[in-house]
Assembly symmetry: C2
Homo-oligomer: 157 residues x 2
Amino acid sequence: MPNPSAASPQPLTPDEESLVRALGQVMHVLPRAIDADMVGDRQLPLTEYTALMNLSETPDRRMRMNELAALCHLSLSGMTRTIIRLETQGLVRRERCEEDARGWNAVLTDAGYARLQESWPSHLAAVRRRFLQHFEGFDLTQLARAFQRAGTAEPTD
Amino acid sequence: MPNPSAASPQPLTPDEESLVRALGQVMHVLPRAIDADMVGDRQLPLTEYTALMNLSETPDRRMRMNELAALCHLSLSGMTRTIIRLETQGLVRRERCEEDARGWNAVLTDAGYARLQESWPSHLAAVRRRFLQHFEGFDLTQLARAFQRAGTAEPTD
DNA sequence: AACCGGCGCTTGATTGGTCAAGCAAATATG
DNA sequence: CATATTTGCTTGACCAATCAAGCGCCGGTT
């Protein structure tokens, strides 16, 4: 029997219920709000910002598509398309990978780095204001751990 | 000066950093995982499930598009399209609103109700397993409140 | 009672993502 | 060493969401 709880399991407690609902709302509202804050301010949608940010954190500002996609929580093809968008804006350049001619490196250009420098204060402010601010007084270490667990999807068994 | 913190504000603490990253991952992974669990089990994507669920919670299983869209965190046009999808599956019917001939009611059909009944145990199990389980020992009331605050987007000032 | 601005909803165009198929380089196999 | 399989990435087709424009009805004005 594939689904052991098919009958009618315990419903959620009111607390659980409202937590789940609130999470749903956050997942919907937050990225849009942060996006809006940044776009209004420095014209960089969240996905593209994340890509630039991850690139900037490597020693030589370059990364294979594979790895970058994983860090950005994007499919490989989604990543390709994001990088193309960034490339046409001159914020990223693509170079064939030396030790494996199938591979590509996305390389952060100086323009890209400059743009990131411009954007991150407003990104940071948005994250604080929209999210972190509401968790003052919480044990962030604990909380982060819980989210990491939840974010690590086990396969659908 | 529109952006007062343009220079180089305090970066995030490591805890804040990892919380933010973990939330990003959760926002990406969780809906897909829950979707996968449910689709694998009872063929109802999360958006459609949410619509049916909200309808089922009204006294007469019907709701104006407006209100339903808000509860589903969907734009009005997104809601229209979702309802159309559900309608073609026979899970929802649309009726002109009596007291205002511009309006429509989405009405949960018996088939829709039945389908919801079938789905919700696996939805519930997914939510528990993928999310709630990782927050045992937390003060859920507090947590829910914090998320509610974060989910209430103030306009971009 | 004829108009007209606003409202409720749908529709068209676009966007940003997914999955599946394709292609070229790399690697394993007979 | 030739061929088959696998790998890394791109491309094509699609999909679900968005925004902006459109359509018909409402309700207040004159």
